[in-house]
């Protein structure tokens, strides 16, 4: 089953968002076809940015929401209707600047939501200012003399915030990205995927990443060792690891509150078809 829409895709030719778009599309189509996901049970969200238009390009119920506030919005959806698969696309501006605190709190709360970050190290939609993942020295629209701030390391940050699934992908390696996204979607609890995404217009990092990335899955790295994951996450120089850094099954927020919130979760959701019939 195809999940594409008629909407014309508006990203610049060569934009890294295409890789993310295609990887997610094949993961969803495959899993819907194989009956592992139900299309009617999926809600996708995005914040505001170039990447945010992604929700227009999939034929899935979607919520194009507020810059920076995606983790709480996704939390609201999931808690109101725990049977949904809630998958959220966010930008680095969204996740690490405007909404940084939300990203951290969603991770430590371990609500079953999926956060997929289009990390292009720049504010694309507002045309080229530095973000919290732009490197020092980055010359952007608001840093004509070079960025003087230190970038954050999203992987280390999310590990320290106790996210139960932490991964990094590269949109230039679609097969590998599909593998990560599939694992992220089926992880129970909060999943975090930071995707290295070149912005060909304002921050073209294709060759930079291509010459540095290597897959953790090609090494003897294990994903169940917390301290080692933190150490591994610090590697970001001549070699940049991509893959799953850490995954752990832990009680999700929804599970933890179930004992005290039975009424809410066991209430009868009215059969809408009845109501609709009455109205007609």
């Amino acid at each position: 089953m195809s999940i594409t829409t008629e909407k014309k895709i508006q990203w610049c030719p060569g934009c890294g968002n295409f890789g993310i778009y295609n990887a997610f599309k094949s993961v969803l189509e495959k899993n819907i076809d194989e009956g592992r996901l139900k299309k009617e049970n999926i809600v996708i969200l995005s914040g505001i940015g170039c990447y945010g238009y992604i929700t227009n390009y999939y034929d899935i119920n979607s919520f194009h929401a507020t810059h920076g506030r995606i983790p709480p919005l996704a939390t609201g959806i999931k808690l109101a209707n725990p049977s949904l698969s809630v998958i959220a696309f966010v930008g680095d501006g969204d996740a690490y600047a405007e909404g940084m605190s939300h990203t951290i709190h969603a991770a430590r709360r371990n609500t079953d939501i999926k956060l997929i970050v289009h990390d292009n190290g720049v504010y694309g939609l507002t045309t080229g200012q530095f973000t919290p993942t732009s490197p020092r020295g980055f010359k952007g629209r608001s840093t004509p003399f070079g960025n003087v701030e230190n970038p954050i390391n999203p992987i280390t940050l999310m590990l320290v915030a106790r996210a139960t699934f932490v991964a990094r992908g590269f949109c230039g390696d679609i097969k590998h990205l599909e593998y990560i996204l599939e694992r992220a979607i089926f992880h129970k609890g909060f999943s975090f995927v930071d995707i290295l995404q070149p912005c060909v217009t304002f921050n073209d990092t294709y060759s930079f990443y291509r010459s540095r990335v290597y897959k953790l899955e090609d090494t003897d790295y294990r994903t169940d060792q917390y301290e080692k994951a933190i150490l591994k996450s610090l590697e970001f120089d001549d070699r940049i690891p991509i893959g799953i850094f850490y995954e752990k099954e832990e009680e999700s927020f929804e599970e933890a509150i179930r004992g005290t919130h039975n009424y809410f979760y066991e209430r009868q959701v009215p059969d809408i078809s009845e109501i609709v019939r009455e109205m007609i």
Binding site: T66, A97, G99, T126, Q129, P132, R141, S142, T143
Partner: protein
């Protein structure tokens, strides 16, 4: 006196703030005002001052709040959604009595809306978008030269009353190129630290405390009364308004900013058809020029208010008139800017066939 330089609005406002002695700029990217922070990011290092792109508008307004507490001239700009996020800071700044100047380049709303010119933030700006009983002075220029002149005036007012001054403009003014003259450059080496500023005690006897808190209701009432006293004084002394072709007017248009600019053309068109119409243009929308409007009630047959929203300033026009004359309205939303001809056509609908 300087010479006239052709400049883009979004850059002219930044240069005006620099010439007015703004020592620091704090902001966060948002369209349609990105050229303003971009200009500051180039110029502030040149003049040895501060430019900082914050992690959010909430951070930016609190950097302003902090810097303002030290008695430093500070400036920020943003656009509607960003200004909404700053409202908590606006309220705290009001009750802390610290001066600063913030520009809102208004865009279509509510929510994410669009990036086209709009005036839907009038209520938020003039009625206090944050919590509590407070006002900021709100200035609405309609040309680049006026904007440039008013930036300097805004800092003077902010410091005179220890209050926040908000400039409301829209993307049209920001994108426009017009010749501007910077009439004065403030010598920042002459700045003195005000006695209320938190800059380290030095040999001052009492320590300075800046706060917006008083848990004792009587204490908080006193803070409020102080604010209200200040607001009454501003209402008495600082109203700015332009009356355009009102001397012989039989009808009055009320409009601010971009719509006032368009209305001036509408008025020329109307007058060429023999319709005597003038414009009352609030330059400060708070304090509002109620008296000016009231004074024209007996002269004109009706008022015609036009705005880029569903009708916001019209409430203040009606309050000023207190029912003395009818007030009609024409507005456009969503970032659509009507032409002078469209405004005229709408205006003429209320003439009752007298000028067909």
């Amino acid at each position: 006196m300087g010479e006239k330089i052709l400049m883009k609005g979004a850059e002219a406002i930044a240069e005006a703030a620099i010439k007015a002695g703004a020592m620091a700029f704090f902001g966060y990217p948002i369209t349609p005002q990105n050229e303003t922070p971009e200009y500051f990011s180039r110029r502030m290092p040149e003049v040895g001052r501060i430019f900082l792109q914050a992690e959010s508008e909430v951070a930016a307004i609190n950097m302003i709040y902090g810097a303002a507490c030290t008695g430093t001239r500070v400036f920020a700009s943003s656009s509607s959604p960003g200004i909404s996020l700053m409202q908590e800071g606006f309220s705290y700044i009001a009750n802390s009595n610290v001066p600063c100047v913030v520009a809102n380049v208004m865009r279509g709303g509510p929510g994410l809306g669009d990036i086209a010119p709009a005036q839907g933030d009038y209520f938020q700006a003039t009625k206090g978008g944050g919590h509590g009983d407070y006002h900021t002075i709100v200035i609405a220029p309609h040309t680049l030269q006026e904007e440039v002149d008013l930036v300097l005036k805004a800092f003077d007012l902010a410091e005179k009353y220890r209050i926040m001054v908000v400039l409301i403009v829209d993307g049209l003014l920001g994108q426009m190129m017009e010749p501007v003259e910077f009439k004065e450059t403030v010598d920042v080496t002459k700045f003195k630290v005000p006695e209320w500023a938190t800059v380290g005690q030095g040999d001052r006897e009492d320590r300075i405390i800046i706060t917006s808190l008083d848990l004792a209701p009587e204490g908080l009432e006193k803070m409020n009364l102080h604010l209200q006293e200040k607001y009454r004084k501003i209402e008495e002394q600082e109203v700015m308004v332009e009356e355009y072709r009102m001397d012989d007017a039989e009808y009055a248009i009320t409009a601010f900013g971009t719509m006032a600019r368009i209305s001036k053309t509408t008025i020329e068109l109307a007058r060429s058809e023999g319709i005597k119409v003038g414009l009352i243009r609030p330059i400060t929308v708070w304090p509002f020029p109620s008296k000016t409007i009231e004074n024209r009630a007996n002269q004109v047959k009706f008022f015609f208010d036009t705005e880029l929203n569903a009708g916001q300033m019209i409430e203040d026009v009606k309050l000023a008139l207190n029912g003395a004359r009818p007030v009609y309205f024409y507005g456009k939303m969503g970032g659509i800017v009507p032409s002078a001809e469209e405004v005229l056509e709408e205006f003429k609908k209320h003439l009752g066939g007298q000028h067909e």
